[in-house]
Structures are given as structure tokens and as C-alpha cells.
Amino acid sequence: MDVVPGEALMLVGGNGAGKTTLLRLMAGLLKPNRGTIHYSGAVGMVAHHTMMYDALTARENLTFFGRLHGLPRDGRVDRLIDLLGLTHARDQRIATYSRGMLQRLAIARALLHEPDVLLLDEPLTGLDDAASHTVLDVIDELKRRGAALVIASHQLVELIGAVARVGYMVAGRLAALEPIAGLDAGGVVSRYRELVAGDG
Amino acid sequence: MTRRDRAVRAARRGAVVTGIALVGLAAVYVRALMFTPIERTQGPAQKIFYVHAPVAWAALLAFTVCGLLSLLYLIMRERKFDLMAAASAEVGTALAVVMLTTGPLWGKPIWGTWWTWDARLTSTLFTFLLFVGYLVLRGALSDFDVRARFSAVLGVMALVLVPFIHVTVYWFRTLHPDPVVLKPEGPSLPSVMLVTLLTSIGVCTVLYIGLVMQRYSLAVLQDIREEEEAGGGIP
């Protein structure tokens, strides 16, 4: 499996199919038992948990992670906060944030070190329409800037327009990796069912 | 031969070894009680020494082996080292319990108290507590990989700690009878008693080996069954 700059790849599969595991492997959080992963650039990840500290503010959290990456203090923290629409709350402790705000902050954190690949695990779950829109806009912007995206999600309808390829995960394996080829959400589901039937 | 067959064979052999050791232990007992003279100053109670000291030795051996196997596991990451270390720790804990109960049984008639905080008793008590901590930690972790790594770390730390504890407690107080065998001038036990003691040490070592073989085989069989239940093979 490979990822292409400027393109979004979507992973689909039932619960327990292995989407999260695959993303964690790609992020380097898990070590593979067999095989190798080749990186040609930096990787960022957005997952279900924010991976940040409730007692700190958005700015403090981002500044902290920036320091860990060794990033210069060039105002990127504030720029990212603005980009994700969190300026009004940047000095509030993130314990007070809504789910949508947390998700956007998590994206900001993942983008801090300007990764070439961004992994997103269920990025739209629990978001209202406005927040979803913001995230989709960010995804488009990132593609335009040449990042490669891998998105694992159940929400086919919202995301289908943004992806170029679909990876079908069945029972812990990548059963197929195919271009979207004009399929809509329903088409993807049918294809998935085909593959599950073929596997069983 | 499959892994299971090898484990079953090792278990049988272990049982044989243990059996031999137990027979040997009985023989040592007979010798100790009937054929070895009564020690002048301590009286018949001194005979507990023939059990207490060798068991203490075996417990210390178990502890050291556990620590070394832990280090091996950390370096080589092979499952078997973890299972062996755990087996050694369990056997060692059992031996330590015997040691800690025979100690006071020996001590009461001779020193008049069940327990004193002297160097060697206290050191062995802490060794026992480290063993228990090791087993408790293992019991609290269900993921094999995490459990193996964490207990290996603890095993290595504990191994390095024991000399420190010994020095600390020794400087603090000393009441234990002076070493009668491991003295620079050579053993000061009369040869009859020495033979009994050394035989007992040998028998206890064999007992340790047999018990570890059995426990380890059991652990391997358990491991095999868990793998089968999980429905996948672990390479």
C-alpha cells in the first residue's frame, strides 16, 4: 500500500476490521510483526482521543508540542489556531471545549510540524454541520498543498467527494485498494459487501 | 516434534527430577536426624539448619536465575525466557516461604525469639517481598508482551538491588550465626555435618531444577492453549 501526495485515500471497513490498527502502524505507534514501512516525510495523526492536556489552553498545548518537535517560535501556533477557527477560545483550558473544537485543535496539533502525510481516524464523528464543514475545508486545503491524506471513516457520504482511492479492510486485512472511479457512497458499500462475501 | 509435545516431555522429565529430589530430601532427613551428631551448643534444634540453609540457597539461586533470565528476555525478546523467569520466581517464592518459616523455627529454641531484624533474615525477607511484588505485577497485567517486558524490567532491577539491601542491613545490625561454611579459612563444620549439609544443598538444587522444569512446561502448555483460543499463531 502506498500514499500519494495531494490525494486523499479512504479506509472503509466494519468495526474491528483493523482501520485504527493500520493507521497506528502507519503513525509509528505500533511496530509491525512482519514487513516494513517506508517513510519519505513526516507523519501527523488525528484520532479519537485528543492526545492533549485538559488543564492547559489551546495555545499552551500547541506550544508544548511545538517545543517537542523543535519548531521555531514563528507564530505558527497562532496561525493554526486561526486557520481552524479557534481564535476566540485559544486561552481557555481545553477541558471546556466542545467535541468539535477538540477535533479542530487535534488537527492543528497534527499540522504543527507540517507533515507530508496526515492520518485521520474518524475525523467527523460527533461534529455538527459547521464543524464538519471546517474540517472538510481543511482537508481540501491540505490536498492542495500537496499533503497525502489517509482517512478512516464510516461517514462515506460526507467524505466521498474528497477521496481519490478507497481501501477496503476486511477481517484485519486490506482486501482491495481501488480508485474511486465515480462510485458514490452506495457503490462503495456494495463493493465492500462483495469483498466481505468473497472473503467468507 | 511440536511445541506441545516438547512441553509435555519436559513436564514428565521435570516430574522425574522432582521425584528424585524428594527422595533425596527424605534420605538427607534420615541422615540428618539419625546419623549426624547433635551439635554441641545448639542442641537438636540445629538440625533444622540442614533444611533451612539449603532452601535459602535454592531460593537465592531461583532469584538470581530469574533476574538473569529477565535480562536475557530484554536483550533477546524470546517468549521462553519470560516464561522461564516467571517459573523460577514462583518456585523461588515457595522456597522462600519454607525458608522464612524454618528460620524462626530454628531461631526460637536458640535465640529465644521468633524473629530478629538481623542482616540475613531481613535480607531474605526483602528478597521474598521482591518475589511477591514480581508475581503481583505479573498478575495485574493481562497483555503478554507488556507483562513480559515489565516483569523483566522489575526482575533486573531486583537482582541489582539485593546486594545493596544486604550491605544496608548488614551494616545496620548482625545477629545471625557467623557463616560456618563459607569462611575464608574453610568450613569449620566437622566433616560428618558438612557432608549432610552439602548433600542437602545438592538435593535442594535438584529440587529447584525439577520444580522449575515442571512449572515452565506448564506455562508453555498454557501459552499454547491461549494461542489456540485466540485463533491465531504467534510467529
Binding site: 508544548f64 | 505485577l137 539491601i165 545496620f172
Partner: protein, 226 residues
């Protein structure tokens, strides 16, 4: 090297900032320290046990147990929101993480100790002022060894269900060399004994610190990898 220092400092500072905002562990430790000191003070019989005999033990029992309350918070923090994953996604090395946590714990424990010390002086009539620098040196030395091992063990123990109980169970044997040495040294310092009587215990304490700090640092990586 500069990167190591930067990351270590960032982690320590973050830990202290979070703790300062919530203050729960800190207040608990302090209250606990006061309670232990007070109970030990009132529970003894003044006519049979002198200040010099009880004071060193009381001081170190207080520090030991109050300290244990603070050790677990360092890694419990990283469990919330899976923050540890976030750290692992950065170029932070296990060494930097370990050192950062150790520094955070040292500051935490140091503050608890410094606040308990005046109380200790209040309760026990011992000539502490003259000996304060030496005493502080011994306290620092013992605390370093304690925190190094405690940080490693707490990283393991937070993954278990009863971490608050597991930590003392695993840690206490490791505290025998440093704490016994510290008590022996404290006693001799307060009793104004000559330095020659202290060199043995000092070397034991120093050896323990060096060996176990290094060992904990080296073994920490094995705990982090998933």
C-alpha cells in the same frame, strides 16, 4: 544534547504547569506529610523516646509516604486523552521523557520536603539550623535515588488497575538502601557526629543513586515501546 535538554525542560515544565493548575496531588501530599508528622509526634512517649532517636525516622517516613502520593501523577497525566500517544508522535526520545518526568517529580517532591521541614523543626527539638546545608545535601541525595526508581516503577504501575497500591508494594524494597542510609546520616548529622562516621553511609547512598539512576534510565525504553 541541546535537544535533549530542551525536550526534558519542556516536559518538566508542562507537568508542573498542569499540577499547579489542579494542585490535587500537591495538596494531598502536603496534608499527608503534616498528618504523619503530627501522628508520630503525639503517639510517642516523650519520657522514653528522645527527640534524637525518633526525629530522623519521622522525617524520612514522612518524606517517603508523602512522596509516593506524588509519583503516580506523573504518568497518570499521560493516560488522560491518550497524551502519551501524542508524545510518541513527536521526536521525543524515551530518555528525554524519563528525564523530564524525573525532573518534574524532583521539583514536586522538593517542594513538599521544603514545606515539611519547618514543621519538622517545630515538632522536634534538634539542632537543625547549624546543620541545614549538610542535611539538605543528604535529603537531595536520597530523594534523587528514590525518584529515579519511583519514576520507572510508576510508569509500569499506572497501567494496572490498583496503581495506588501497587506502587508502594513494588517500590518499598528499593527504598531500603537509600532511606536507611538517609536515616542513619540524618541521625548522625543531628547528633553532631564527626564526618568520619558518615562516609560509609554516604558512599552507599551515592553508589545507589548512580547505579539505579543509570539502570532506570536504560530500562525505561523497554517500558515505553508498545
Amino acid at each position: 544534547m541541546g535537544e535533549l535538554l530542551r525536550v526534558t525542560a519542556a516536559i518538566a515544565r508542562k507537568d508542573l504547569k498542569v499540577e499547579w493548575r489542579t494542585k490535587t496531588a500537591f495538596v494531598s501530599s502536603l496534608v499527608f506529610a503534616v498528618l504523619v508528622l503530627a501522628v508520630l509526634y503525639f503517639a510517642r512517649d516523650k519520657t522514653s523516646v528522645g527527640d534524637y532517636d525518633l526525629a530522623p525516622g519521622a522525617l524520612w517516613v514522612t518524606f517517603t509516604f508523602a512522596g509516593m502520593l506524588g509519583l503516580n501523577r506523573a504518568f497518570l497525566l499521560e493516560r488522560e486523552n491518550r497524551a502519551l500517544d501524542g508524545l510518541r508522535l513527536t521526536p521525543t526520545t524515551p530518555t528525554a521523557l524519563f528525564l523530564g518526568k524525573v525532573v518534574g517529580n524532583l521539583v514536586f517532591l522538593g517542594v513538599v520536603e521544603l514545606v515539611s521541614l519547618p514543621l519538622f523543626i517545630l515538632f522536634y527539638d534538634v539542632p537543625i539550623w547549624r546543620q541545614l546545608p549538610v542535611l539538605l545535601g543528604v535529603v537531595a541525595l536520597a530523594t534523587v535515588g528514590y525518584v529515579a526508581v519511583g519514576t520507572l516503577l510508576s510508569a509500569m504501575v499506572v497501567r494496572t488497575r490498583f496503581s495506588e497500591v501497587m506502587l508502594p508494594v513494588l517500590l518499598l524494597p528499593f527504598l531500603v538502601p537509600p532511606i536507611v542510609s538517609a536515616v542513619q546520616l540524618t541521625w548522625r548529622i543531628l547528633a553532631l557526629r564527626p564526618l568520619s562516621e558518615m562516609t560509609g553511609w554516604l558512599s552507599l547512598l551515592a553508589a545507589f543513586d548512580v547505579i539505579f539512576f543509570t539502570l532506570s534510565l536504560l530500562l525505561f525504553e523497554a517500558i515505553l515501546v508498545e
